[in-house]
């Protein structure tokens, strides 16, 4: 098995876009890990809150002390660095939770079928029919604002996608003869799902998950941008963009005057999403034994 993993890794690293994805993601991980060194927080303060660095409400362009500029009285560089941690936290927790729920619901529906399938899939349809942003707003008014509430809202409204995908794949895989062969050897239903159906059906879900990891961060940022997410001053890319709301159009005759307010947090977000998408593609190519010839 170890040799297999090594082979898969070799395949992963022989793929240019895969390497780019890994490198980008590696950079983000480094930034997240070394955040206290890159942007030292003030002692005694919660490092996840961006310290106020100026009294003027006007944004300041990049300078020696504030390499990415200042927005909403706060250092953009500090926000981007510590926001990386926020992005990872949102991405990983929400993806793990929603994929787990989706896998559970989708496997039950797909494998056992019939009435259970009908009920679970109609529930899924109902959740899919609710416009996400509206539902998230309602949910945050019920639960209150805050990053954890945003994550709950994201989980509640994103488990349907893996559920549907895994259900479809399971419907296909369970007709395969090797499932019948496994049953004929006396394998129990639970083990058939876990060992035979899921490994053959899960790859698209994992790829979707790694891509969703990126897009969830965008959605969370959208909520923060609307003021529903992270509290005032929290290091979050969306919150940084929120500061840019009033300055986006620039000044008279200087449309791009405040470019740095959008470019740095926005750029971080784009690269983050790109990294996960590239990685998702490369992982599929490397690890799915059925694509190996």
């Amino acid at each position: 098995m170890r040799e297999e993993t090594r082979k898969a890794l070799r395949r992963l690293f022989s793929n240019a876009s895969g390497v780019l994805g890994v490198v980008l993601l590696g950079l983000f991980v480094i930034v997240a890990l070394f955040a206290p060194l890159l942007a030292p927080p003030k002692p005694g303060r919660d490092p996840y809150f961006m310290p106020v660095v100026t009294w003027s409400a006007d944004p300041l362009p990049p300078s020696r002390e504030h390499p990415f500029g200042v927005a909403g009285k706060r250092d953009i560089f500090y926000g981007v660095v510590w926001g990386t941690r926020t992005a990872f936290r949102i991405g990983i927790l929400v993806t793990l939770a929603s994929t787990a729920i989706g896998l559970f619901v989708g496997s039950l529906a797909g494998y056992f079928g019939r009435i259970l399938d009908e009920i679970l899939m109609r529930v899924t349809d109902i959740f899919m029919a609710i416009p996400f942003l509206v539902a998230a707003m309602v949910l945050t008014t019920v639960l209150g604002t805050g990053l954890d509430k945003v994550m709950i809202a994201l989980i509640v409204f994103s488990w349907m996608y893996p559920a549907r995908l895994i259900r479809g794949n399971i419907l296909q895989v369970k007709e395969e003869q090797f499932i019948l062969a496994a049953k004929s050897l006396g394998v129990s239903d639970t083990l058939i799902i876990l060992r035979h159906v899921l490994p053959n059906a899960i790859f698209p879900v994992l790829i979707q998950a790694s891509m969703r990891m990126g897009s969830l961060v965008i959605t969370a940022a959208a909520l923060s941008f609307l003021g529903l997410g992270a509290p005032q001053g929290y290091a979050d890319w969306g919150a940084l963009l929120n500061y840019a709301r009033n300055w986006m159009l620039g000044g008279y005759g200087a449309t791009f005057k405040y470019w740095y307010m959008i470019a740095f947090p926005g750029g971080a977000m784009v690269l983050f999403v790109l990294a996960w998408n590239l990685l998702g593609d490369a992982l599929r190519d490397a690890f799915d034994p059925r694509l190996r010839w």
Binding site: F178, L180, A181, L185, G186, P199
Partner: protein, 331 residues
């Protein structure tokens, strides 16, 4: 004379329901027996219910089908009355099955070794290392060269014949008392076919298992079987020893089947065939299901054919069993 049977299928009925809610009686009152250590061939055309019978013995009929009646006695226990959990202990350990399409029957995401090890660990309490050693031994037993290397290969890295050998190794890893072989060689080319059949016979001798061989190839039947069960349209039409079936068959269908085998020793211009088609399983004729294709048909055939015992386990279901004997002269 009466020996205890390993498997006794009594009046087995498997019905399917199609989308329109019509009932399809795929297997309708099938009875036969498999003595321990012997090979019984289940013969018939495609769609006659032989594979469904095999799956029903293991209670693996698809979701839209149900076992509507009968008994499957394995060493005296009725498998149809067992709980699902008890049934799981029978599958693989007491009765194993190998399928027609070896490439489809192996899970593509696991190595051959992992799959055999899983089968062993399911029914035997041995360590993983021991199971791996047993798996290697099984691959060696089924004649796969370099078994240690093959253990680490994925199904797509093996040839068709090799995969079927691996399947056999997996099925036999717990030394079942009965192996159901559902057209084990149909998808393989002729030389590999002969090798696999030879292998099955050799393993049968070593392990002492019985084989229920499902096939439509009478050449294989003549080669392998001790006893033969002939099925037509979901029913058994005749069963008996290989000699009885090949030399003294009494059912017009069996006769037609035998005649339609091309022969090298007889100068024939056209290949004999049975006139007409297999009836639509949704609308089987009343009475004898071979009605409309049979050269002995008369008005009595509209009623259910009687079971006629001809001695030595030779049984035929036909109104004209006495008459049909005459027809043998032609052959």
């Amino acid at each position: 004379m009466k020996e205890p049977m390993l498997l006794e299928v009594r009046n087995l009925k498997v019905y399917f329901r199609n989308d329109e809610g019509l009932e399809l009686r795929a297997v309708d009152g099938v009875s036969f027996t498999v003595p321990p250590g012997k090979t019984v061939a289940l013969v018939g055309e495609s769609g006659c219910g032989k594979s469904v019978t095999a799956l029903a013995i293991l209670r693996l009929v698809e979701a839209n089908g149900r076992i509507a009646g009968g008994e499957v006695l394995f060493e005296g226990r009725n498998l149809l009355a067992l709980s699902e959990r008890e049934m799981q202990r029978v599958r693989g350990k007491e009765i194993a099955i190998i399928f027609q399409e070896p490439s489809a029957a192996l899970n593509p995401v696991y190595t051959v070794g992992e799959q055999i090890v899983e089968a062993i660990l399911l029914h035997q309490s041995v360590s993983r290392e021991k199971a791996r050693a047993l798996a290697e031994e099984m691959l060696h037993l089924v004649g796969i060269p370099e078994p240690r290397k093959r253990l680490n290969e994925y199904p797509h890295e093996l040839s068709g014949g090799m995969k079927q050998r691996a399947m056999i190794a997996m099925a036999l890893s717990c030394r079942p008392k009965l192996l159901i072989a559902d057209e084990p060689t149909t998808s393989l080319d002729v030389t590999i076919q002969a090798q696999i059949l030879e292998l099955l016979r050799e393993l049968q001798r070593q392990i002492g298992m019985a084989i229920l061989l499902i096939t439509h190839d009478l050449g294989i039947v003549a080669d392998m079987a001790d006893e033969v069960v002939v099925m037509y349209a979901g029913k058994v039409v005749e069963r008996g020893t290989k000699y009885d079936i090949f030399k003294r068959c009494r059912h017009p269908y069996t006769l037609g089947l035998l005649r339609s085998v091309p022969r090298l020793d007889v100068d024939e211009n056209a290949l004999a065939s049975i006139p007409g088609f297999v009836p639509d399983p949704l609308h089987f004729p009343e009475g004898c299901r071979f009605r409309g294709r049979c050269f002995l048909e008369d008005e009595t055939c509209a009623t259910e054919p009687p079971e006629v015992a001809l001695g030595n386990g030779h049984v035929v279901y036909c109104h004209h069993a006495a008459l049909s004997e005459v027809c043998h002269g032609e052959r």
